[in-house]
Amino acid sequence: MPKLGLNIDKYLRTQVLPTVWCPGCGNGNIVEGLATAFSRMEVDPTRVVVVGGIGCSGRTPFYVQTNAMHTTHGRALAYATGLKMAQPDLTVVVTAGDGDALAIGGNHFIHAARRNIDLTVLLYNNGIYGMTGGQRGPTTPFGSRTTTSLAGNIERTFDTVEIAMAAGATYVARTTTFDMQEIPLRIQEAMAHPGFAVVEILTQCPTYYGSLNQLGDASDMLIWQRDLTDGVPVKMLNREELLGPLRTGVFRNEKVTEFTQAYSDLCSQVGGNYGHN
């Protein structure tokens, strides 16, 4: 287990536990993965800011013992962009849900990706609006039941990976809360990546998505996630196969000029000395 030999408690804000999340929610797995990644990388908590939006995922910053910025709905990436530009040597991790990052904040998601600014985005995809009680979201699978699509969702589903890649993210990966070992690995890779890094993490919402779609309890949903994602490593697949919505692994890992670096170069060109205080 990821905890072996590591004391991740140092990176958890234990005084505010328990979390607001429902029993069986997958978000705790992600927090554990994040704390594990921090622990392995031995980050200085004062040099890391975890920026969250609104919704279940947005509460993550409260639970990790680093700087925390819990912002407004959809805007976490815009806050993070300003923060990173103001102090480029801070490590900035953004936690956002599918509704937060792809519906209300979809514009910021594609533009942050386009800039290739050095942010790590953990995109919690539970296919539903959990905090407000189970409404349809942009990643709700076609046909699924939610409290606003009781007869089945007739809207098509966003593919986070495809959007991130099309918008220009330079590190793109997908994993699930079933793949507990993989989560910290992907987060570590994303944090080490100099550029806009997106890790989509499928996370179960047994309270709403599970019960409305008769998928059983949390452990049943983990099995369901395992079966949805076939476990074939991405690099073994061709382009057509990659287009399926639920492949896991690393889809892109490229070095392209990062935005704070580009900005620093621009300042130098006109005689300015940017950042790095």
């Binding site: 800011v49 912002t71 993070a80």
Partner: protein, 385 residues
């Protein structure tokens, strides 16, 4: 009027340019914005001035992200600002509330245009004065400063930054399309060299909010910032918002007691012996000043109270004025916004007449003077009847 001959070292500067120059003078090292008429020149000027100083200029994807980036940058230790006009200002309201509840120092410039909606992009308006106060949901402390000349644009911007840091809050500078685009000769000091903001040292268990000083991320111990109601240590309190209510009350009290605010609240022009007072602000205050002269030339003792800070509203000054004059005229380029708190402040002790225009046309000195004369005549007629 005291004509003062210009010195030849004066330069022609546009109002919007003066805002940008004032920001740089105040130490602004971060600007994020989105193009919008009639505020765009501020964005363009900042894009030219910041990179050579090592400051950050970001053109964002919309106004929502512009204000969000500005707040994020403040928490990154920058002295930050954005500028917009009505439609963009509307989009910024939610995050302005976030800046208030998180006590984030930053400056937002709204170069007003005719509304509602796309309205009259190029034309003058004072339609956002209530939005500047009440636009964001919930109660919050507000400090809204105006400008009625190019020189004002510079000085009010410097003042806005100073107050935003002193009171840990977003400060709004309200100008309009005419003030933003007019060019007048001004003599401004050269831009100071770039400097990094410094922050006080605090301990891990020091309070972060309420009366505590502003210490951004990376400049001290780990800090939690949230738009939820929170305690002074930053941790959310979702069952009772007493700390947040107290913070808002205290900030409002602090602003209202601040001698720098009290001194800047309003300018008085020929009010000592006035029978009629015109209360105006921004571009309309310039027409009103000339209107007061016109009325005096006609034998009517008129004066002007030029409001330099709209919010908090200078209740005391208005109460005092109400005891001295027979009538108050409130010309505004909207359908009657600042007249509402004014009426509340004077409490019926004096007749208040509202003169409004919202078609993008300015109220001229003659418009105001004729209106005032007419109202006074009708008061006299009633008194003699």
């Amino acid at each position: 009027m005291n004509p003062e001959p210009n010195k030849n070292n004066q330069k022609l500067v546009m109002g919007n340019e003066a805002v940008a120059m004032g920001a740089i003078a105040a130490g602004c090292d971060f600007f994020a914005g989105y193009p919008i008429t009639p505020a765009t020149e501020i964005l363009e000027e900042m894009s030219k001035m910041l990179p050579p100083r090592g400051g950050v200029f970001l053109q964002m994807e919309d106004e929502l992200s512009a204000i969000a980036a500005v707040i994020g940058a403040a928490w990154g230790g920058s002295i930050s600002m954005t500028a917009t006009s009505g439609p963009g200002f509307s989009l910024m309201q939610e995050n302005l509330g976030y800046a208030s509840i998180t006590q984030t120092p930053c400056v937002v410039v709204d170069c007003q245009r005719g509304g509602p909606s796309t309205g009259l992009p190029k034309l003058a308006s004072q339609g956002d004065v209530m939005q500047a106060r009440f636009g964001s949901h919930g109660d919050r402390p507000t400090l809204v400063i105006t400008a009625s000349s190019v020189n004002d644009c510079y000085e009010s911007t410097v003042f806005a930054f100073k107050m935003s840091q002193k009171h840990r809050m977003p400060v709004i500078l309200l100008i309009d399309g005419v003030i933003g685009h007019i060019r007048e000769p001004v003599e401004l000091p050269p831009a100071p060299p770039p400097r990094k903001a410094t922050f006080p040292k605090i301990d891990a268990d020091s309070p972060r909010f309420g009366d505590a000083p502003f210490v951004p991320f990376g400049h001290g111990p780990v800090t939690v910032v949230t738009g939820l109601a929170h305690q002074s240590n930053g941790l959310a309190e979702t069952q009772k918002g007493s700390h947040t209510e107290q913070m808002i009350r205290t900030t409002i009290e602090n602003i209202c007691r601040d001698p720098e605010i009290i001194d800047s609240w309003a300018l008085k022009y020929q009010l000592d012996d006035a029978d009629v007072a015109i209360v105006a602000y921004g571009i309309t205050a310039r027409s009103a000043r000339e209107a007061a002269d016109l009325l005096r030339a006609d034998g009517i003792k008129a004066g002007l109270l030029d409001l330099k800070i709209l919010w908090p509203f200078p209740n005391e000054i208005l109460r005092e004025l109400a005891g001295k004059v027979a009538a108050i005229i409130v010309p505004e380029l909207n359908l009657g916004q600042m007249v509402l708190p004014l009426k509340a402040a004077v409490g019926g002790r004096v007749v208040v007449h509202s003169l409004n225009r919202a078609d993008g046309t300015l109220l001229t000195p003659n418009d105001i003077a004729e209106f005032a004369a007419k109202q006074l005549n009708s008061i006299e007629e009633r008194t003699h009847a």
